[in-house]
């Protein structure tokens, strides 16, 4: 099927670990859908084994990843559609490393920890297919391959929201699908145009990211158009103001597992894409578009924060907080300094962990109370102190309290951007304060005060939930107290990217 063409990269592992990272969940999905519905336990076991195996492989890859390496590691490259110059080209570097690990770890947690309530078989099959798509998106080094994964992700997510979501799930799922697909429409044309226009410099028609990025030299105007085509797709995915309106609906209506994955890794496909396919491919255009993108990012930060403050629905509040947080990541990305981008990448992971955990907690509240309305909650701290404690830690991490993970990324973004984007940073900092405002206020309304009759019976956290949340809290604290191992692995690749940008000037 995939005739081996060449082995690129220095650390080509004999075991095609990256290919396995994509195929393992895919195999799991196939297996799950083939098993009979009656053997519910077998279905769960198959899903569990394949997702845990994927997670274990991603962690193993993290361990084996050489610290200080700037290029792509574990590269596997095979010809796929040679007629079109398309290859199965996977690789991982410091920028994608932690996204891959986050994906690998988050999925088994969601599969183990969250009960979809009905139709387990299809739910798990879609989940695993989603994991394969997300993994592929973070690992692809071929424009076409990336698009395939980027787009295929829509299908399982659509069915997850539509099939297991809340009241307005069909509306939200459809909106999500069409918004993202509309963005991708531009990107597809952009991808094909990039490959064709780069042919002059690359010799033969190829969709290989590295080859195009290193060899191609686009005319100024052309580069800007192509950059814009990619950016529209990513701006929808991130989502960047004013293309964000699908997000509150999708997040709120999605089942808890879907929300965790959506916030945890799916949105990052946008910010990751901006770095990998925006800045890396079109450095000059990225510099040119910087003021506009920074402005949109800052508007997103403020708008998301203000909108979050006004929400009556706890889940919607967290969803809007995502808009604000993702704004910080975009700010870091387009400030274009090593520190800022490193902070941005760090923040991608942090946001995945913190907001993922927040959605998990909100989901637990909904399970117990069957409402997400802040006004109907209150006084929960009195009846469920441990639950409140977990919520508090996660929330503080989301606010960016020093010592927790959110602080490291946010701080790096702000300090790194200060030199190149001073006034934007000044405004963005207001967002930090607003974050404290809306989250603390929400916490106060939900957890403080006297519990009403309905909330008096709020059950305390169960062991299973506690264990699940502990994993998140451990990550939050570890990354907050000792971020060095992460930064050491992210920074070299970011430096190389910055050098690539500098060289293009």
């Amino acid at each position: 099927m995939f005739a081996s063409v060449e082995k690129a990269g220095e650390a080509t592992a004999s075991f095609p670990i990256l290919t396995m990272l994509v195929l393992m969940p895919l195999l799991g999905a196939v297996l799950v859908s083939l098993l009979n519905k009656k053997h519910g336990e077998w279905v769960k076991l198959a899903a569990l084994v394949s997702s845990i195996a994927t997670g274990a492989m991603s962690v193993w890859m993290l361990v084996k990843f050489p610290t200080g390496a700037a290029g792509f590691e574990f590269v596997s490259k095979h010809s796929w559609i040679s007629e079109w110059g398309i290859s199965w080209h996977l690789g991982v570097d410091g920028i994608s490393l932690f996204m891959v690990v986050l994906t690998g770890v988050l999925f088994p947690l969601v599969i183990v920890g969250i009960d979809p309530h009905h139709d387990h078989k299809s739910y798990l099959a879609w989940m695993l297919l989603l994991e394969a798509g997300v993994m592929g998106s973070f690992l692809s080094l071929d424009l076409f391959l990336f698009f395939v994964f980027f787009e295929i992700v829509l299908v399982p997510m659509y069915f997850l929201i539509g099939g297991w979501g809340y009241e307005k799930r069909v509306y939200a799922a459809t909106k999500f699908f069409l918004y993202t697909m509309a963005g991708s429409a531009f990107m597809l044309v952009g991808i094909v145009a990039t490959a064709f226009l780069a042919r002059r410099d690359t010799g033969a028609l190829t969709f290989d990211l590295v080859e195009i990025a290193e060899k191609a030299n686009f005319a100024t105007g052309t580069g800007r158009w192509l950059f814009a085509a990619f950016m529209i797709a990513f701006a929808v995915k991130v989502p960047l103001f004013p293309l964000h309106t699908w997000l509150p609906d999708a997040h709120t209506q999605a089942p808890t597992g879907g929300s965790v994955i959506l916030a945890g890794v799916l949105l990052k496909m946008g910010t990751y894409g901006m770095l990998r396919f925006g800045v890396y491919l079109f450095p000059q255009a990225a510099i040119w578009a910087k003021p506009m993108l920074l402005t949109l990012a800052v508007i997103g930060i403020l708008y998301g924060a203000i909108a979050a403050t006004m929400q009556k629905d706890l889940k919607r509040l967290v969803a809007y907080s995502s808009v604000a947080h993702l704004g910080f990541i975009v700010l870091g990305t387009f400030a274009m300094t090593t520190q800022a981008i490193t902070g941005g990448v760090m923040q991608m992971v942090n946001h995945g962990v913190s907001t993922g955990a927040l959605f998990l907690l909100v989901g637990m509240i909904y399970e117990r109370r069957h409402t997400r309305q802040i006004s109907e909650l209150g006084g929960i701290q009195a009846v469920a102190p441990i639950f409140a404690g977990f919520f508090m830690i996660v929330m503080l991490s989301s606010i960016g309290l020093p010592g927790l993970n959110g602080f490291v990324g946010e701080f790096l973004v702000l300090i790194g951007s200060f030199e190149t984007a001073r006034w934007w940073v000044v405004v963005a900092t207001i967002g930090v304060i607003l974050a404290a405002l809306y989250l603390l206020w929400a916490y106060q309304r939900v957890f403080h005060g006297e519990p009403s009759d309905d909330n008096k019976s709020f059950p305390e956290i169960t062991l299973r939930e506690g264990l699940l949340l502990s994993v998140f809290v451990a990550a939050i604290v570890f990354a907050g107290v000792y971020p060095k191992p992460m930064l050491d692995r992210i920074e070299p690749s970011v430096k190389a990217l910055i050098e690539h940008v500098e060289a293009s000037k």
């Binding site: 099927m1 395939v148 799930r169 069409l178 429409a185 094909v192 064709f196």
Partner: protein, 501 residues
């Protein structure tokens, strides 16, 4: 007088005919005659045998086409029967597509006819006759031969559309199609006449040579332009381009569902291949005159088809509008091909043909599911009838989902390969705006496929009416889904073939 005529006939020398090279047509003809003659003279055959004869005929014709394809190798294209038919990769690929479509559709027709208790040889005979018309159209190298093929195809379709004896809509649709189709044929024929007037020939290649020289007489120029316009109108009607599409939803809805599948596949392939051949072979010197028209038609078709598809409530009408939108996509391929100065303009034709092949399989598979759901009477085609199909018939619903996702152009399905090919062709000749417009229209159309999926998976069943699938319909759907996924994952199987077109 009589003597002179006979004398003239006796000295008439027919063209040399290479019989083997027209064997696909002969095979189809033999099958059609066998079914109609033997079928009508013998008592009712056992269930499924008429369909088997039809499938065997179509497969035999497809195999012969394949043999011819291999034999031809890289030889230069030639003409057959005194320049009446072209013999090239393009014609063979279109012929193959038609034969495969007929084989697949016959399976669905079998399911439908046995269910309605109307099993008999006529429908299959007409289907094979339509296929002959189609094959003649895709290989016609002469406008009059093309017209013969067109009429054979159209007349068969008029009858097939009206073939249901129990549904009155079927007769109504047949009459509507007949009257409007007659108009379109008249336009087409008038166009042929004017082009003949301007060039003095109906042969495509001779015509191209005549037009390549300066047309010095202004009157001829006028004839030529009017001829092109009328020809384009005739074709636009046949492939249902906006604003010549109004018959499509009515006819698609009224015709028996498997016949609709046939119109969406065989009818589209034949008319589009003929359109591409006539405009690219006979009229390349006039590209600047007809390209703007094609561009406008493509844009209108994409947008109107997609938008109107979304607001329908009957699945057959939805798919009719979606087929209009798909036609717009294929037209983008022709637009790309028309930039003949450009190094990559050949991509336009091969991508359009690839799209036609992929879409033919998709449309038959999709309508096969619709036909199964429509059930006894062929009437249950409202969107609501699909509610809860995922619960009643999960495997069928899954197959339909794959086909719909492919129509929406989701990666790892053949539909994405088709769309990608077109976009690639358009971008390679720098028609960026058209490429973006096509993709955005695809997004609008995606909403329609989502609506059907929502009904199938996310709604409760409206009733407990069981949905029964016969073996032949199941086989057709399985094959369609398998091809859809195969081409989606390994596009090379199709692309290597397309490269020689």
């Amino acid at each position: 007088m009589m003597n002179r005529l006979i004398a003239a006939t006796s000295t008439f020398e027919g063209p040399a005919i290479q019989w083997f090279k027209i064997s696909p047509i002969l095979a189809l003809l033999a099958g059609a005659l066998f079914l109609i003659l033997v079928g009508s003279l013998t008592p009712q055959w056992k269930r499924g045998w008429y369909a088997t004869a039809s499938v065997v005929t179509a497969v035999a014709a497809a195999v012969l086409t394949g043999v011819l394809w291999n034999q031809m190798g890289d030889d230069a294209p030639s003409t057959l029967v005194g320049g009446a038919l072209a013999f090239d990769h393009f014609a063979l690929f279109a012929t193959f597509t038609i034969c495969v479509s007929v084989a697949l559709a016959s399976l669905v027709v079998n399911d439908y006819l046995t269910r309605e208790g109307e099993d008999g040889p006529e429908v299959y005979g007409l289907i094979l006759a339509a296929a002959i018309g189609g094959v003649v159209m895709v290989s016609a190298n002469d406008l009059l031969v093309l017209f013969l093929g067109l009429e054979t195809l159209s007349l068969s379709f008029y009858l097939l559309t009206a073939s249901s004896r129990s549904r009155t809509q079927s007769g109504e649709a047949g009459l509507k199609y007949f009257i409007l189709g007659g108009f379109a044929s008249a336009f087409f024929l008038y166009g042929v006449a004017l082009l003949f007037g301007a060039s003095g020939t109906t042969n495509l290649q001779t015509m191209a040579t005549v037009f390549a020289g300066e047309v010095t007489v202004p009157a001829n120029n006028g004839l030529l332009l009017a001829g092109i316009a009328l020809l384009l109108v005739g074709f636009a009607f046949k492939v249902s381009l906006v604003p010549f599409h109004v018959w499509t939803p009515d006819v698609y809805q009224g015709a028996p569902t498997p016949i609709t599948a046939l119109m969406g596949s065989v009818g589209k392939v034949a008319a589009f291949a003929a359109l591409i051949r006539v405009f690219m072979i006979a009229l390349p010197s006039r590209i600047d005159d007809w390209r703007p028209a094609v561009l406008v038609l493509a844009l209108l078709t994409l947008v109107v088809g997609s938008v109107l598809a979304v607001v329908q409530t009957d699945v057959k009408r939805m798919l009719a509008y979606s087929s209009i939108s798909h036609a717009g996509f294929i037209l983008v391929g022709l637009e790309a091909a028309s930039h003949i100065g450009h190094a990559d303009s050949h991509l336009g034709i091969s991508s359009a043909m690839g799209y036609l092949f992929i879409y033919s399989i998709l449309v038959i598979g999709t309508f096969a599911v619709v036909s199964v759901v429509a059930g006894q009477g062929d009437n249950a085609t409202m969107l609501d009838e699909f509610k809860g199909l995922g619960k009643k018939r999960p495997v069928l619903a899954l197959g339909m989902t794959v086909l719909l996702l492919a129509q929406a152009g989701v990666p790892l399905t053949s539909g994405f390969v088709a769309k990608f090919g077109i976009i690639r062709a358009a971008v390679s000749v720098e028609s960026y705006a058209l490429a973006v417009a096509a993709m955005l229209a695809a997004v609008i159309a995606a909403f329609l496929y989502l609506r059907i999926m929502v009904s199938m998976w996310l709604s409760e069943p409206a009733d407990d009416a069981p949905v029964s699938i016969s073996k032949s319909a199941g086989l057709a759907i399985t094959l369609a889904v398998a091809v859809t996924l195969l081409i989606g994952v390994l596009p090379a199987v199709l692309l290597t073939v397309l490269e020689s077109i």
